[in-house]
């Protein structure tokens, strides 16, 4: 067993999850592959979305994978950082918008 929860080498073993549940694993990877194909959004745009979400869900495997994917697609570091900021802005906004709930409660309880 590794001495830490995250081992970069585990990313290469991702496909092995299918070994313990073939049907669900296969369905997942089929779906996953389909999602990232060229569609109404380009594969490039989807890669940037995935990079932003990777940061929001704080998945180190995903960050490694989609930084590399972005490089492969010719995405620049400026574009990648803007995507991360877009994710961070939504995440901080999601926290801050609850401030309205706090304000509502405060006002309701206050004379």
């Amino acid at each position: 067993m590794a001495n830490s929860y995250y081992d970069p080498a585990d990313l290469r073993k991702f496909g092995k999850i299918t070994e313990w549940s073939e049907e669900l694993g296969t369905k997942f990877f089929d779906y996953y592959g389909k999602v990232f194909e060229e569609g109404a959004l380009s594969a490039r745009e989807k890669s940037l979305i995935a990079l932003a979400v990777s940061h929001v869900v704080k998945c180190p495997y995903c960050i490694d994978a989609y930084t590399k994917d972005g490089l492969q697609k010719g995405i620049t570091k400026e574009e990648m950082m803007e995507a991360v900021h877009a994710g961070a802005a939504i995440e901080s906004g999601a926290t801050l918008v609850h401030g309205v709930q706090m304000m509502n409660k405060y006002n309701k309880l206050s004379m």
Partner: protein, 350 residues
């Protein structure tokens, strides 16, 4: 400017050291399968040539650039240059070959003092597709090269040029400061002569190599991005983009090892192995000729000094029928040509 591995006395300047690395490590330990075993499973071992289509001639390793990823280990300090005598031997082959494409490469082929004479003579053979691989900056490197676009046009040469990215930062990082601006200027010069323009017979294609330890993305999508950006920013036109995978040899191998990316890169190449690419790898339709006349299965094998496994090993004994009856020499660098959509000097193969 950085020096070549050879000038630095780097251990990887010795090709047998590179081969030791490619044969050992992850492969010798059984972590990753040997290329030979992989292609054996689909009935392609030993790998055999098909009809010869491309004669690729490397006229010398001298170059005005020292790109970080260069598989030739080319640079201003490399003195290996094809002589006119060897060129004359090549011309005899060119006149009689069954190949439809002649592909001149280097180094910067234009730096060979007999380059223009060779192009003029070779053009007379009337080969269908006559390619010169130009790094673009050579056209702007010195006044004596300024007329190269006119010279190319006069001989109806098909120009294939390296362009790592459509942004200055990525290009200069891989190829040196100032390379991007010079390349843009050279492309504009070529466009002004009709090269790369829609509908023009003067072919101008670009080659994209990743600027780091990752594989190239989809060639069509990259081409679309390059066309849009180069047109919008600089009004530049070109015909096709070839996405070429960096093979783990020479300076790119040195970079992979120094940056501790070698193992991950080899995993990535093996994981991306595409059996459908094997039948069309370029060594099956190409002969590569070195500056000193030796024959190889491809330019990469040339840089590893893996001469053809044939009775005919040198241009002085050239015989296409004998050469075509050979087994192609392979090692683990060959995974670079079978990754994803495959990779060759003409772009994807699958």
């Amino acid at each position: 400017m950085q020096k070549s591995l050879k000038a630095r006395d780097n251990e990887l300047a010795a090709t047998n050291r590179q081969l030791e690395i490619l044969e050992g490590g992850l492969f010798a330990e059984g972590e990753l399968p040997y290329f030979k075993d992989k292609i054996n499973k689909i009935g392609h071992f030993p790998l055999r040539p098909k009809k010869l289509e491309i004669l690729q001639i490397n006229v010398g390793y001298m170059c005005n650039q020292v790109c970080e990823h260069c598989h030739v280990d080319a640079g201003p300090d490399r003195k290996e240059i094809m002589t006119r005598d060897t060129m004359k031997q090549c011309l005899e082959v060119i006149k009689n070959t069954g190949a439809h494409t002649l592909d001149l490469t280097g180094g910067a082929p234009e730096m060979n003092p007999d380059f223009r004479w060779f192009v003029e003579e070779a053009a007379k053979a009337g080969i269908k597709d006559f390619i010169v691989r130009s790094n673009l900056t050579i056209i702007r490197a010195n006044k004596k090269y300024y007329d190269l676009p006119d010279f190319f046009k006069k001989h109806n040469v098909h120009v294939i040029s390296s362009m790592p990215h459509y942004t200055r930062g990525k290009t200069d990082k891989q190829r040196g400061d100032g390379v991007f601006d010079k390349s843009i200027k050279a492309l504009q010069e070529l466009n002004a002569r009709g090269y790369g323009m829609p509908g023009s017979d003067l072919r101008l294609d670009l080659v994209y190599n990743p600027s780091g330890a990752y594989l190239p993305g989809d060639q069509m999508a990259m081409e679309k991005d390059f066309k849009k950006a180069l047109d919008q920013d600089f009004g530049i036109q070109f015909h096709n983009l070839f996405a070429i995978t960096n093979l783990p040899i020479a300076r790119f191998l040195d970079y992979l090892i120094a940056s501790e990316n070698y193992e991950d890169y080899m995993y990535a190449l093996v994981e991306a192995y595409n059996p459908a690419a094997v039948a069309n790898v370029m060594c099956t339709n190409t002969i590569s000729i070195s500056w000193d006349g030796w024959l190889y299965d491809c330019d990469f094998n040339q840089m590893l000094d893996l001469k053809v496994a044939s009775k005919v090993k040198h241009i002085k004994d050239y015989n296409e029928d004998v050469l075509n009856d050979r087994n192609i020499i392979i090692s683990q660098h060959c995974y670079g040509c079978t990754a994803g959509a495959g990779s060759s000097c003409q772009g994807t193969v699958a």
